[in-house]
């Protein structure tokens, strides 16, 4: 492995790496604003300047500068080395780079930081980026002095609506062009550009257009300062009150890795942030997925119901036991959910198969939507492959389910989740008794004889298998909301009341029962936290 020296440390690198990328691989952070590992290099912020020692035998590339000597009060000639941007400079074997240990680099960083803050508005108290803002962090680390400018800062438009999801504040913008490069390269929609020059720089949307592609929230995510803000999250929460759980996006079967940011004091989920996973979603997530966090709270079933009347979980469980106990196994349809985790589906299917003797399995979920070549899949369920694998050798589709009901072959339904894909809800008109474990309101939940409130993905750990067959772990964020319980727990309780107690009291018990491969032929994906730039 070829190596180079950074601050007298040997750092390995791969051929073609720039200094900043090689350093990042080794966990060293060179301060930067405009560079992003997933975008091309712009080198316009000049924050990552480092000193590169000349190769042996060559003189240093140096500049003649005038520096102010405070003792004599005069400007004196001095030589300082020409610093290079680490984001652009390719690494060569044996290169010697000085980052923190060079006083020239120190002064350069301090000057760049001073420049960036010259016209910056005093917005910290109202800026959403406060707490995760690079200007704040780098100011304290690298500059920690006041600026020398005494003039009035330049004023620019604030609160410019770029599109349905993004609001732009030109005064906070440092013109790093990350948003422009993102739209150009990743979203493949070159709608943003930089206008005017010098300190009048602003980001502008192409005339006649809005920032409305499918990945607009990523521009907010790559923005290192508070210039681009998401109107969905604007002024909702302060980030230092939020904690992050490492979850998997539930929007489609790509299974992008995400951080779910929630406030533990009120058990509220506030937003998603993408989590780096080079094998799945690299550094990005789509707008649909980013806004999918709302499903943690919107439209939830949080109380048990018997025939539409509110009830408690204990009473509803007893009623469910009575209903299911007297049902002929032939007429029982079991619907698994592509929206639920492997553990939920496994526990549900096992109870249905071993305790209730059912043999008719179907897999439900959200109807398909729009997919594209960048990140999104048409299948809008996070765990289709996982759910299907527990549905036995010949699971039926929702169409088969509709036919079976029409043909009167179904007398009872035991369902996980209340989504029926493309099936028309009216088909359910002639349904017999239905015991539904639902997280959200839906056609099945409305017609349930017994409705048991189920916890969503955010309220329990779980495993989800994406379209590529990778099984990914999702971490619990909130405690179970309302009266809801995880589906595996409700299934275990039902089984216990029906006389077969599997002894599942913790998720680990269910996972043990699933076996080492989880009963699913899937490649174990990584859920390790990847912090993106």
């Amino acid at each position: 492995m070829p190596t180079f020296k950074l601050d007298d440390r040997e750092i390995p690198f791969e051929p073609g790496d720039t200094i900043i990328r090689a350093a990042r691989r080794s966990g060293i952070d060179i301060p930067h604003y405009c560079w992003h590992p997933g975008l091309t290099v712009a080198a316009n912020c000049r924050m990552c300047l480092v000193e590169i020692l000349p190769p042996p035998g060559r003189p240093a590339l140096s500049l003649a500068v005038l520096s102010y000597d405070s003792k004599t009060g005069e400007y004196v000639d001095q030589k300082k080395p020409k610093l290079q941007p680490a984001c652009q400079m390719a690494v060569a074997e044996g290169m010697e780079v000085k980052s923190e240990s060079s006083e020239h680099v120190d002064r350069a960083r301090s000057s760049v930081q001073e420049l960036l803050l010259l016209n910056h508005p005093v917005d910290c108290p109202i800026c959403d980026q406060a707490g995760e803002c690079r200007l704040q962090d780098y100011w304290l680390e690298h500059q920690h002095k006041s600026k020398r400018m005494k003039d009035e800062p330049v004023h620019k438009p604030k609160g410019v609506v770029f599109g349905p999801t993004i609001v732009y504040d030109a005064e906070r913008c440092i013109a790093c062009t990350r948003c422009i490069r993102f739209c150009d390269e990743v979203a493949k929609d070159p709608v943003l550009t930089l206008r005017e020059r010098g300190n009048l720089n602003e980001i502008a949307v192409a005339p006649g257009r809005q920032l409305d592609n499918a990945y607009t929230l990523m521009t907010e995510y790559v923005c290192p300062v508070g210039a681009l803000t998401a109107s969905d999250f604007r002024f909702k929460a302060r980030v230092w009150f939020l904690r992050s759980a490492r979850t998997v996006c539930q929007g489609c079967s790509t299974g992008c890795n995400a951080f779910l940011d929630y406030d533990p004091r009120t058990s509220t989920a506030y937003r998603y942030r993408p989590r780096e996973n080079m094998a799945v979603n690299k550094y990005w997530m789509c707008d649909e997925g980013m806004l999918d966090y709302r499903r943690v709270h919107d439209g939830r079933v949080l109380r048990a119901a018997i025939d539409g009347e509110a009830s408690t979980v204990g009473v509803a469980l007893d009623r469910a036991v009575k209903l299911l106990g007297g049902v002929a196994p032939d007429g029982l349809a079991v619907i698994l959910s592509a929206q639920h985790s492997n553990e939920d589906n496994f526990a549900f299917a096992k109870v249905a198969r071993d305790v209730l003797g059912a043999s008719k399995f179907f897999v439900g979920g959200r109807p398909p939507g729009e997919g594209d070549q960048v990140l999104r899949e048409a299948d809008k369920n996070p765990n289709t492959r996982g759910a299907t694998s527990f549905a036995g050798p010949a699971p039926g589709s929702m169409k088969d389910f509709g036919d079976a009901i029409a043909g009167g072959k179904i007398t009872a339904v035991f369902a996980l989740g209340s989504e029926l894909r493309e099936l028309e809800a009216s088909v359910l008109g002639r349904l017999g008794s239905a015991v539904v474990l639902a997280t959200h309101e839906g056609p099945l939940a409305e017609r349930a004889a017994v409705l048991l409130p189920t916890s969503s993905f955010a309220e329990s750990d779980g495993t989800f298998v994406n379209s590529k067959g990778m099984a990914q772990d999702s971490e619990q964020a909130l405690g179970p909301l309302g009266d809801s319980r995880p589906a595996w727990k409700l299934a275990a309780a039902l089984a216990a009341r029906l006389g077969r107690d599997f002894g599942w009291r913790k998720l680990a018990d269910v996972q043990k029962a699933m076996g080492p491969d989880g009963g699913v032929a899937a490649e174990r994906g990584s859920a390790q936290a990847g912090a993106a730039s």
Binding site: S455, G479, R485
Partner: protein, 205 residues
């Protein structure tokens, strides 16, 4: 002068001194837990160190490390005016096997200091004459200064001792009172928690 003491310790107890360093003017040595008492006795009796006082004995919990706990003792010599900090690392990440020899036969101050350490961290001092809780009441459940003990946990109500017919007011429920705090909010139920509504016979979480 305490640096010379560290050198002396390393020479005398070659195998027992695992690490040593100086920082901010303090000298620290990490000791093998089984030799804790020997090293401390040497510090007290040897004429070069003459540690007449055990000024402080406490512990620090590092839940990500194995061994998890660090018992930290500070010694001071009245005659020589030097100090040294001894540490010993004990306990596994689950919080078991947390024991270390007691120093109460060497210094009287160890008696209460070790009792407090037991109370707050659950460190068992082997050979202590009277290891019971000192700052908390005897029915207290848990060891509060451990990092996995959430600061806002409600303790179970203690049965009032043998005084009949006195009303006790219930403590604050966890969602009453001040909610702002920086770190622990672990009163929020885990999906794994006990659930008597689903499994009658379990206790409430």
């Amino acid at each position: 002068m305490a640096r010379a003491l560290l050198e002396l310790l390393k020479k005398t107890f070659a195998g027992a001194v695992l690490e040593s360093w100086s920082q901010h003017g303090d000298e620290t040595a990490v000791i093998e837990p089984s030799r804790w008492h020997d090293v401390a006795a040497f510090l007290k009796t040897s004429s070069e160190s003459d540690m007449s006082m055990l000024t402080d004995l406490t512990a620090v919990d590092f839940p990500d490390r194995n061994p998890r706990f660090e018992v930290v003792a500070h010694f001071y010599s009245l005659s020589k005016g030097h100090r040294v900090r001894l540490k010993a690392r004990i306990g596994d990440p689950a919080g078991e096997h947390v024991h270390i020899p007691s120093l109460s036969d060497l210094w009287g101050s160890a008696n209460w200091l070790e009792r407090e350490c037991w109370d707050m961290f659950g460190v068992v001092f082997v050979g202590h004459p009277d290891l019971r809780r000192i700052l908390l009441y005897p029915e207290f459940v848990g060891h509060p200064l451990r990092k996995d003990y959430p600061a806002d946990r409600i303790q179970p109500l203690v049965e009032y001792r043998d005084v009949p017919a006195i009303d006790k007011v219930a403590p604050f429920h966890h969602d009453e009172g001040m909610s702002f705090g920086r770190q622990t909010f672990d009163h929020i139920g885990s999906a794994d928690g006990d659930d008597p509504e689903l499994f009658p016979g379990q206790k409430a979480n």
